[in-house]
């Protein structure tokens, strides 16, 4: 017995389809599907396609690849691909429904489409039906944004650089901008510890003994504050807090606070970035720490959200001012249905809780546009700017229409 799967995807038509366009496409697709033993269905509404393909695993995958290359549509996103025990659309070589006409009839725009099919049978309550219902409710519809140009951001938000004079300690900093896409402005910079111009944070951290980490961590933040102030930082300053420093937490706040004051950086401009390991080691200490920081006006960002213990349960215990999405969630999100669904859920939760979301590690324009369309406003990543060694690099911002 061959391995049956179904693959469900959505995509955006590259031009508005007419009835004529459809019948041309369908005639060919139906006969090819019949010969390949592929069944399923296709919906089209206002420029969005939604298709279920079912059949033997390798045949479905190969066909989906062919379809992906088809210039009549783009942004094809696999929502789900999984084995099935039996077909939901066995009667149909890509018909339009096994749901009742009443079920689907109220999806506007499809009426023309349905007149083509004469036979309606009942679909069982499997995944395909549920996804159709979601589609009916307006989910999973992609459309093309127009702008894809790329241009440097106006320099207004970027402070002018000053020279730094001071003996060089064992480590220094690079700064990476965080941009607000809707305001087209830099909102702040994250300070990233560096040993030298080409290295990474890991180079520095490896050299530090476990027992010294707390002290290092505190020093590093003070230095970063001083550095940022000398560079003329105008917006927020994001500072990393390492998991081991919880024991000395109150002292950490005090010393950062004092340095910030001395450097003329208002405490409300400082954002502490917590790694998820930190959030579990001692939940009570974290809660206390957070209340204390809040009272002082510091803000908290939970980094790497979606990995390890930085998950949903954490938001039940405390609500930070912001979270940064884990890289795995951002990577290629434009073509990964499950990641998209998870992100939409997170956006819902965070907007209900007033927690801002930063998309970190954004590398491609496709990732950016997808996230932007879902209402994400804060971004950080190579697409905008690499970390600037001992400098505040100005970001590039895609010229999307607001």
């Amino acid at each position: 017995m061959s391995n049956l799967i179904h693959l469900i995807y959505n995509s955006a038509a590259t031009y508005p389809f007419t009835e004529e366009d459809f019948s041309v496409m369908l005639r060919k697709a139906r006969s090819k599907n019949a010969s390949l033993d592929i069944t399923g269905m296709l919906l089209y509404i206002e420029g969005c396609f939604f298709q279920v393909l079912e059949g033997p695993e390798n045949v479905v995958i190969e066909l989906a690849e062919t379809v992906r290359q088809d210039p009549r549509h783009t942004r094809m996103t696999t929502i789900i691909q999984e084995p099935i025990a039996k077909r939901a659309f066995s009667e149909w070589t890509m018909g339009f429904t096994q749901m009742s006409l009443i079920n689907l009839g109220d999806i506007e725009g499809l009426n023309d489409f349905f007149t083509i099919c004469k036979v309606l049978t009942d679909i069982d309550s499997g995944r395909a039906k549920k996804l159709l219902t979601a589609f009916k409710q307006g989910r999973w519809r992609v459309k093309l944004s127009v702008a894809t140009q790329y241009q440097p951001l106006a320099t207004r938000a970027v402070a002018k650089k000053r020279r730094v004079i001071e003996p060089r300690p064992a480590f220094t900093f690079a700064f990476q901008p965080i941009v607000d896409a809707s305001r087209r402005a830099v909102v702040g910079y994250e300070a990233l510890v560096r040993a030298d111009k080409t290295g990474t944070a890991a180079d520095v951290l490896q050299r530090i003994q476990l027992g010294e980490l707390g002290a290092f961590d505190e020093d590093a933040r003070r230095m970063a504050i001083g550095f940022a102030s000398r560079l003329g930082l105008a917006g927020n300053l994001h500072l990393n807090v390492f998991p081991h420093s919880w024991a000395s937490a109150p002292k950490t706040i005090d010393s950062s606070l004092e340095t910030a004051k001395r450097c003329g950086i208002d405490i409300t401009r400082i954002v502490f970035e917590l790694k998820h390991e930190a959030t579990v080691s001692d939940p009570c200490a974290v809660s206390e720490w957070l209340s204390e920081s809040r009272r002082l006006g510091l803000r908290i960002n939970i980094d790497d959200f979606g990995s390890g213990y930085a998950g949903l349960a954490l938001l039940d215990h405390y609500q930070p001012e912001m979270i940064s999405l884990s890289m795995w969630l951002v990577r290629s999100i434009e073509s990964h249905g499950a990641r998209q669904a998870i992100l939409r859920g997170l956006v819902q939760t965070c907007s209900d809780l007033g927690v801002d979301i930063i998309a970190k590690g954004v590398e491609t324009i496709e990732e950016y546009f997808w996230l932007r369309d879902e209402g994400i406003e804060l971004f950080q990543g190579f697409l905008f700017a690499k970390p600037g060694f001992e400098s505040l690099p100005p970001p590039m911002l895609p010229a999307d229409i607001m």
Partner: protein, 237 residues
């Protein structure tokens, strides 16, 4: 070492249809000792065999009791996903055959894996899970929203249902953050065609809040307590 154990069954109800959707088989000692009592008597090495054996027994007893719907069975993912171990394939095959001998169809079986459980060999797990799915067996993620890497798991593996952890359900009617989390989970699951089961529902207020958000599958004391070696009847609110 053969330890005596048996099962209690607790219904998962569909309040839309007002019918029992499934029974979850919960392992118990011979005198209705709790699950932990049974688990404690097994070493880690024995757990694998126990895990496989327990499912067979839960199915058999369920069938004897005249199970009319789905049956939810707990699964240690590593039992199933040990690609070195050929017996792990056979075990699943055996489970399905056993169910059929007892007069149950494979699509009545729902395997629950806990979000708190880490899966050592994920690719292998997915491969095995897919073998089961081809036969019609369904999957659920248990304790969702409570543990480690739940979102990660969901990104790579979409089960037929997700069971909301009871921590999130408790007092939800007046806990804003929990409500926000549950709304987000609902959104994600709707988009992926995954059913949500609210676990551990104890009060009418919890039930009503969740019901209002569109959840229709429930499990908890409000509907029925687990019944020792029996399929309990349900009280619908």
């Amino acid at each position: 070492m053969v330890l005596e154990f048996t099962f209690a069954y607790q219904p998962i109800v569909d309040v839309d249809k007002r019918e029992t959707h499934s029974f979850e088989a919960l392992v118990r000692g011979p005198n209705n000792e709790p699950a932990n009592w049974v688990l404690k008597q097994h070493t880690t090495a024995q757990l694998r065999t126990f895990d496989m054996d327990a499912r067979l027994r839960a199915i058999r007893l369920g069938a004897q009791l005249g199970l009319p719907c789905h049956i939810n069975l707990n699964l240690l993912p590593d039992t199933m996903a040990d690609c070195e171990e050929k017996s792990s394939v056979d075990a699943l095959q055996t489970m399905v055959e056993m169910a059929e001998q007892c007069g149950l169809k494979p699509d009545q079986l729902v395997l629950e894996l806990s979000e708190t459980e880490t899966i050592k060999d994920f690719d292998c797990f997915v491969e095995r899970a897919n073998q089961c799915r081809r036969l019609g067996v369904k999957f659920a993620i248990d304790d969702f929203g409570s543990g480690y890497s739940g979102l990660n798991l969901l990104a790579e593996f979409q089960p037929e249902s997700v069971k909301l952890d009871m921590v999130l359900v408790r007092d939800i009617e007046h806990r804003g953050p929990r409500q926000a989390i549950v709304r987000g989970v609902l959104r994600t699951c709707e988009d992926l065609g995954i059913d949500i089961v609210a676990e551990g529902v104890e009060t009418i207020a919890e039930y009503e809040w969740l019901r209002n958000e569109g959840i229709f599958l429930f499990q908890g004391y409000l509907f029925a307590r687990p019944a020792f070696e029996a399929l309990p009847t349900v009280t619908f609110p």
